[in-house]
Structure formats: C-alpha cells, structure tokens
Amino acid sequence: MNTTPAIELTGATKRFRTPSGALHTAVRDLDLTVAQGEFVAVVGPTGCGKSTTLTLVSGLEEPTEGEVLVYGEPVRGIDPKVGFVFQQDAVFPWRTVLSNVMAGPRFRGVPAAEARERARDWLGRVGLAAFEDRYPHQLSGGMRKRVALAQTFVNDPAILLMDEPFSALDVQTRALMSDQLLELWAGTGSSVVFVTHDLDEAIALADRVVVMTAGPATVKEIFTVDLPRPRTVEAVRLEPRFVELYREIWASLGEEVRITRERGAGRAA
C-alpha cells in the first residue's frame, strides 16, 4: 500500500450566499488529512459546518478557496471512489429494498444479474436478506439505515463519508448500528470520515477524533484514540481510557459548544 493520503484538505474554505443575499462562511481555512484505511470522526457544535466538509470531499460542492485532494487528485465532480451515508433517509421510496441496493452498481453500468448478486450479498451482511421485496416505508428506521449502508457498501467505496448517519435512531439501535458499521468496515480497508455530534459514538468508532471550532468551522484539535480494535461499542465505553479520552476531548469541544450557545442567545436577545 502506498502512503498517499486518502483525503487531503488544505486551506479549504466554503462560502454560501444565503437567500437574503449575505455571504455565509461555513468552512474556513480547513486543513485535514485522512490516511488510507483510517477511521476519523469529526465532532463539533451543531450547525458549525461539519456536513459542508463532507460535501466538499464528495464533490457535491466545490470549495470557494483551497484544495481538496482524494488519493492525491483534486476533486472534480463526484468521485466514484466515494460513498456517502446521509443523515436523513435517502433510500428511494419507490424501489424495493433489493432494487435500492442494486441502484449503485446499475447506475455504474454493472449488468443486472451481477448487480443483483452483489446486492443480495450485502443485504445478507446487514441482516436484511428476508426483506428484499419490501418497500422502504414497510421497514423500521433502523432497517432503512441498514438498507442505506448496504446501498453504499455495495459500490465498494474506498472513501466512506457519513453525515450523522445514526442520529435519527433510538439509543439501543444506534449502538447496534455502530457495531455493525465497525464489522462491515473491518473487511473493506476503506477510509471513513464520520461526522457526529455524539462524542461517545465518535470515540467508540474512530482512530482519531477531530474537534471543530464554532462556525465557520475549522480544525481546533485532533485527538488520537488509542483503544485496541476490534471494539464493541458497549464494552469500549466502560474502559478507563475511554473515560479519560472523553474528558480530554470534551474539555476542548465543550468550549466551542458554549461559544455557539452564547452566540445563539445573543441573536435571540
């Protein structure tokens, strides 16, 4: 394996024009490098621009300034190496579960028979083999999320971007999904950027935790999570090192959360 980083952001800045015409800076001067096969969690106060960082890497949006490299190449449009799991439901409601998982390979020109075989394989791995004929509205929120995971993994992405994927799920389901994600990811060797507001989740999953500042987002501090793998979410939470890390990272994150909250209060006044 060569040592080209999977993702490299240098001085990336993204400004939007708001509907009222004002310029809003979502991301400012952001430097971040993700190595191949690394799992990076990004935490930060709500609305600080974490998600924007992901859309820059995915190619859905272009940076206003700075550079975004994927495997050493500047991002131009959507890169086929990238997979993206969204916060909201993004499975196609008019397609069956199987057809949803087949969508990626079919879009990319894989013959139907092969796409079906690959889709069935991934449905099996997320435990939904028996539900392939159902429509998304017939499934629970957690099952729909598993369809979304299968839909993304079936494309074999070298880079996996996840935007608070489990935030809409209840706590128990979220823990199960986290474990399932680690299991699925272990076999692939892909690099993951996992955006979340849940520090527990971030530490349990990641190799490194990136703390973002209050918006406009930039990297504040990066912490290395030196907990041994394979991990299971419930077990790793009880380790003393986990608690130690939590305290360290929260000291850094809490400050940004406070700034965001004070700004909100100032605006409301």
Binding site: I78, F86, A90, W94, T96, F107
Partner: protein, 291 residues
C-alpha cells in the same frame, strides 16, 4: 372495562367476550356502511321525486325545467332509436375519442415540458414568463379560434382539450420536478447516476405523485374542452346533442346529455384511480383509506 369484569365474574369463558366484541364491532361497521348507502339512495330518490312531483303539479314549469321521467324517456329513446346525428354510442365514442386524444397529448406535453423546465434552470428562466401569460388567458375562448383553424371535425375539439389539459399537468410536473427531495438526488449522484439517470430514475418517479394529482383534474378538463368544442360547432358528439336539444327547446335532451356525460366521466375517473393504485404500491397507505 366494566363489561369485561362483569362477564368474568359471571363465570363465562374469558375468550368469549373479546370475540363477540370483535363481531359486534364488525356488525356495527357493516350496518354503518349500509346506512350510509341507504341514505345516499334516499337523498337521490327524494331529489328526483320532488322534482318529478313539482313538475307534474306545475309548481315548476316542466317545459323549462323538464322532469326526471321525461329525461329518462329521452335517454331511452336515444339508446333504442339513436339520436338525430346517429346512434348514441357513436356520439359518446366521438366525445371520448376527442377528450382522450386531447388528454394524452396534453399530458405528454405537460409532463415533458414540466420536467424539462423543472430540471433545467435556463429553460425555466427563459420560458417562465411566457407560460404565465398563456396561463392567464381564459383558454376556453380559444375554442372558436380552433374551430376556424381546424374545422368542424374532431381536430378542433382535440385542440381545445389539449390547451385545457396542458397547463395543470405542466405546473404539477414542474413543481414535482422542483421539489424532489435533495437528499435523494444527492444520493443518486453519489451512487453513480449521471444527469439523465437522475432525471429518469429519481426526478420522474418522485414527481409522479404530483403528476397523478393533476391527471384526475385534467381528464375532467379534457371532457370540458371536447364538449365545449362540440357545442360551438361539430358534426358528431355529446356536445352537439346538447346544442341540438337546446336549439329545439328540448330541456329533457340537455339534461339527458348531461346525465350521460356524468356517467362517462365517473367511469373514466374510476379507471384512473385503479391505475393509480397499481402504480403507487410503494407508498404507505393513506390513513383516509379505511373509510
């Protein structure tokens, strides 16, 4: 649950109470349905009966307002002996043919243009104002112009049906294409769909709900277009029946044609609902379905 406690105390088997209660509930639901249907029929009979009685006792002028028995006679005469323009089936066939052709053309045009303008910002910016202006015209006044352009044959009726159908379908398709969940589009693009595939496999399926809403309304419009066109000038059709009956002061003929039209419209509406149910299996059932 005082009832349940009471039956348990009385020493009845515990399973009996819920079963009989389910049965009772089912019976109540059935009875309610029957009552509703019965009431509906009663309303219709009361209305027709009152009309008939008022006309016979000359409370209302039967020459102007006609009466149900005469309308029925008129329909029966048309069915058995045909109309002055030919058999009744032929008239219905003509009107349906014109309405359907106009509807299909209007729907295809409306959907294609709606999706295209909804997807391609440039087109929407260029054509937007023109479409608004055209939509502001009361399009039914175009029927006489079409008569001049296309003559007395079906073409002029098809044209007026098309202009009536096109706009509601267009606006719904446009709106539908605009309001597609951005997450779905982003997801499809990440999964590898190009623009064409996004349009065909994401935007169009997502917009079908919107489009289908307009199909219901617009089939009614197609019928209006065909009838008005025929009324103004035609050689065949239900609209011509209305015009001819009116020309001979035959009020019963006007009502009879209206009745036939209503039946035809209801039947086609039923077919459309059936097709919609087949097409939208992926949607969660409405809460209102259990009515």
């Amino acid at each position: 649950m005082p009832l349940e406690t009471a039956s348990a105390v009385a020493g009845k088997p515990p399973a009996a109470a819920p079963v009989s209660r389910t049965e009772a509930r089912e019976r109540a639901a059935r009875n309610r349905k029957l009552t509703v249907y019965g009431a509906r029929v009663a309303v219709l009979l009361a209305f027709l009966g009152l009309w008939e009685v008022c006309a016979r006792t000359e409370v209302i002028d039967p020459f102007n307002f006609s009466q149900p028995s005469r309308i029925w006679d008129q329909i029966w005469q048309w069915v058995t002996h045909g109309t002055a323009q030919g058999s009744l089936g032929e008239q219905i066939g003509y009107t349906l043919y014109e309405a359907l052709t106009g509807w299909v053309i209007g729907v295809i045009g409306g959907v294609l243009l709606g999706i295209a303008l909804g997807r391609i910002r440039f087109l929407a910016d260029v054509f937007g104002p023109y479409i608004k202006v055209l939509n502001a015209i009361p399009r039914i006044v175009l029927a006489p112009i079409f008569l001049i352009w296309f003559g007395l044959g079906p073409a002029s009726k098809v044209a007026s049906a098309v202009v009536l159908v096109f706009f509601p379908v267009f606006f719904n398709a446009f709106q539908g294409a605009r309001e597609v969940d951005r997450n779905l589009v982003a997801n499809a693009r990440i999964l590898g769909a190009d623009n064409r595939k996004v349009t065909l496999q994401v935007v169009i399926p997502a917009a079908t709900t919107w489009i289908f809403t307009s199909l219901h309304v617009s089939f009614g419009f197609a019928l209006i277009g065909a009838i008005v066109g025929e009324y103004i000038g035609a050689t065949k059709g239900l609209g011509l029946l209305v015009a001819a009956a009116q020309g001979t002061f035959n009020a019963a003929g006007v009502y009879a044609a209206m009745t036939i039209l209503a039946v035809v419209a209801l039947l086609t509406e039923g077919l459309l609902t059936f097709a919609e149910k087949k097409l939208f299996r992926w949607k969660p059932a409405d809460a209102g379905d259990g009515r």
